[in-house]
């Protein structure tokens, strides 16, 4: 096989191998330069791979990779469609500036930062390319275990306290994930997403109750990762306590939850899912609207800059989930476009909060009048750009994303609610960021000595790069929009996905003990009955 055929697995392998190499290099001060060079080179190479995959996927081909050569429903497959390639590219676009920023000094404040960063990328990339529900769980765990350690990177009381909460909550969520996956497997007999999409409609109504319970448990888990109300309270505390580059990297973690909701609840339990069709539709839209409101109200009440940005993350995830909850190709396209922009801008704001805090001496990141910052024009300019984008002022991408969302919602029954919330949240976001900006830059106390040295260009360039990528999304809005629209249409074409992954549109089962036509496709758990075509071999249990 040529290298091109192995392309879908490379985004997972590259960070994994780099991480192992970085563990060998170690992080003693003498070798830190080498570790930085290797890590940056690997992320840059990953970006090249992602661009190559986007090019391939843009033509509409599904890159299917069978691990170990096992055919589809039996082995694990990696599938790179337009959406997966887009998420890989977004991860790379985020990781490169964030890693650059971390190399300015944060990476030396704890051990093995670079190796953990690569493991985190491996988990993220794996979660985006996998075509198997249990494999998704495994990659979730990979990225979570890396994030547990990155979260407490730099240590300190507050980080350890919040870190324990974060780990305990995520372990609980992982347990629920496993229960959900087990219920789905018990009722359908498969974990392959393509196979699942074919088998879910075949589950008859009475047994579908268990399947739906499993799917709703998965919504709880993915909603927890995505910070969907009422499961969003952990996020501001965690992100505010993490170091600035780590918080910026975590901006993509909520999007993993969004991605999983889209794949599982948007497609597998989508419009064609028989008795389980549109399972989460009545829940997702109201909860997403509530997430927007809670996020922006939390940002209004935030006392520190990182906490404010973290609450804005919640609000932006809410906007994306509103688009998902509208269940239509146009709305999903708007959601994907908004996802790209909000991830980059929120990450830039986290980095910016770190830069501002470093120049304010005692006041740090708290929102009280403090010493003047050393570079008010530069940092203020970056804040204005980020604020305008996250608020949705034209001509920045936030405006285009919200416009697409409002247009997609105009034909929907809940159009009034969506328009009110999206526009109201935009206004309040403007108030929040204007208040923060005036306190930090205008209400500075001249009687205090300046808090810190000006940042070198190396330190602020990554933030500018992230915001610049956001602006580029606006300049190249037409191609980006065409791509997201095509990605949304491709997502809804379940037949083509099944043909590419399984080689057919017939539902297959991976369960060895069930005959093809045994009184309905499934039997309820715990009531084991031998299929009709086999002799009744199950002996009575004692």
């Amino acid at each position: 096989m040529t290298l091109a055929e192995h392309l879908p697995v490379l985004p997972v392998l590259l960070p994994a191998l780099t991480a192992v190499l970085l563990l060998f290099i170690g992080d003693s001060p003498a070798r830190l330069r080498w570790a930085r060079a290797v890590a940056l080179a690997s992320v840059a190479l990953g970006a090249v791979l992602a661009v190559r995959l986007v090019e391939q996927a843009a033509g509409g081909t599904l890159g299917v990779y069978q691990l170990g050569g096992w055919p589809a429903p039996f082995g694990i497959v990696l599938v790179v469609d337009r959406l997966a390639a887009l998420m890989l590219a977004l991860t790379s676009a985020l990781a490169l500036p964030v890693l650059w920023q971390a190399c300015a000094g944060w990476d030396a404040r704890g051990r093995h930062f670079h190796a953990l960063f690569q493991f985190q990328l491996m988990g993220l990339n794996g979660a985006f390319v996998t075509g198997d529900l249990f494999n998704l769980f495994v990659f979730f765990e990979v990225l979570l275990i890396a994030s547990y350690v990155l979260m407490v990177h730099g240590l300190g009381r507050e980080r350890l306290r919040v870190g324990l909460h974060y780990v305990a909550l995520n372990l609980l969520a992982s347990a629920l994930f496993l229960v959900g996956v087990a219920l789905v497997y018990a009722t359908t007999g498969t974990l392959n997403l393509a196979d699942l999409a074919l088998r879910v409609p075949l589950v008859p109504a009475p047994e579908a109750a268990l399947l739906q319970a499993g799917a709703l448990l998965l919504l709880v888990v993915f909603g927890f990762k995505a910070a969907l109300v009422p499961l969003s309270m952990w996020l501001p505390a965690t992100y505010a306590a993490a170091s600035a580059p780590v918080a910026a990297l975590f901006a993509i973690m909520t999007k993993v939850g969004v991605y999983a909701i889209l794949r599982v609840h948007g497609v597998v339990f989508g419009a064609d899912a028989g008795a389980s069709a549109l399972l989460v539709q009545p829940l997702l839209l109201p909860l997403a609207l509530a997430t927007c409101v809670v996020g922006v109200v939390g940002a209004l009440a935030a006392a520190t800059l990182p906490r404010l940005v973290a609450w804005l993350t919640v609000a932006s995830v809410g906007s994306i989930l509103v688009a998902l909850g509208l269940f239509g190709a146009a709305a999903w396209s708007a959601g994907l476009y908004y996802l790209l922009h909000s991830t980059l801008v929120v990450a830039a704001l986290f980095l910016l909060a770190g830069l501002v805090a470093a120049q304010r001496g005692e006041a740090g990141d708290t929102l009280v009048p403090g010493p003047r910052v050393a570079q008010p024009a530069l940092l203020g300019g970056l804040l204005v750009l980020g604020a305008a984008s996250v608020t949705g002022l034209p001509p920045l991408p936030g405006f285009i994303g919200k416009l697409m969302l409002l247009q997609a919602a105009s034909q929907h029954g809940a159009a009034v609610a969506v328009w009110t919330v999206v526009l109201g949240v935009g206004l309040l976001t403007l108030v929040v960021l204007a208040r923060a900006g005036s306190i930090v830059f205008w209400a500075a106390r001249a009687d205090l000595p300046a808090g810190g040295a000006p940042a070198s260009w190396c330190a602020w360039a990554p933030t500018a790069l992230l915001l610049g990528a956001g602006v580029a999304l606006s300049v190249f809005a037409a191609p980006a929009q065409r791509y997201t629209a095509a990605a949304a249409v491709q997502l809804q074409d379940r037949a083509a996905y099944a043909r590419a992954v399984l080689g057919g549109e017939r539902a297959q089962s991976t369960r060895p003990f069930r005959a093809p036509a045994a009184s309905g496709p499934v039997s309820p758990p715990l009531a084991a009955s031998a299929p009709d075509s086999l002799p009744p071999t199950r002996p009575a249990l004692p």
Binding site: L155, L172, R538
Partner: protein
Amino acid sequence: MLSMEFLFASGIGFVTAAGVYLLLRARSFPVVLGLTLLGYAVNVFIFITGRLWLGAAPIVGSSPALADPLPQALVLTAIVIGFATTGFVIELALRGRHEQGSDHVDGAPADGAATPGEAGPLR
């Protein structure tokens, strides 16, 4: 006569209930124990999604009936991941206990009841 299904279902339910109870305690050690118990319950739950069989091997052709091999493979993965994360959370809890002078999950209580070097009683 209790059926095996009933025993499994009630056993998982009981262990889950115990795990949730411990998880809601305010000290880090019971929380870790609660997470471990939940992990056990979940592992057994995954295992029985392959249905309860007696005298059936998960290998084609070895016996007239076939047990489903996939949940057994899934359980192995879940056990390994659960073991690793439990090890990490214990270390994190110890570190937090050392750093804050208290094993309360929210750090030292406001009244300063817990002093460094001694863990307070369960509340």
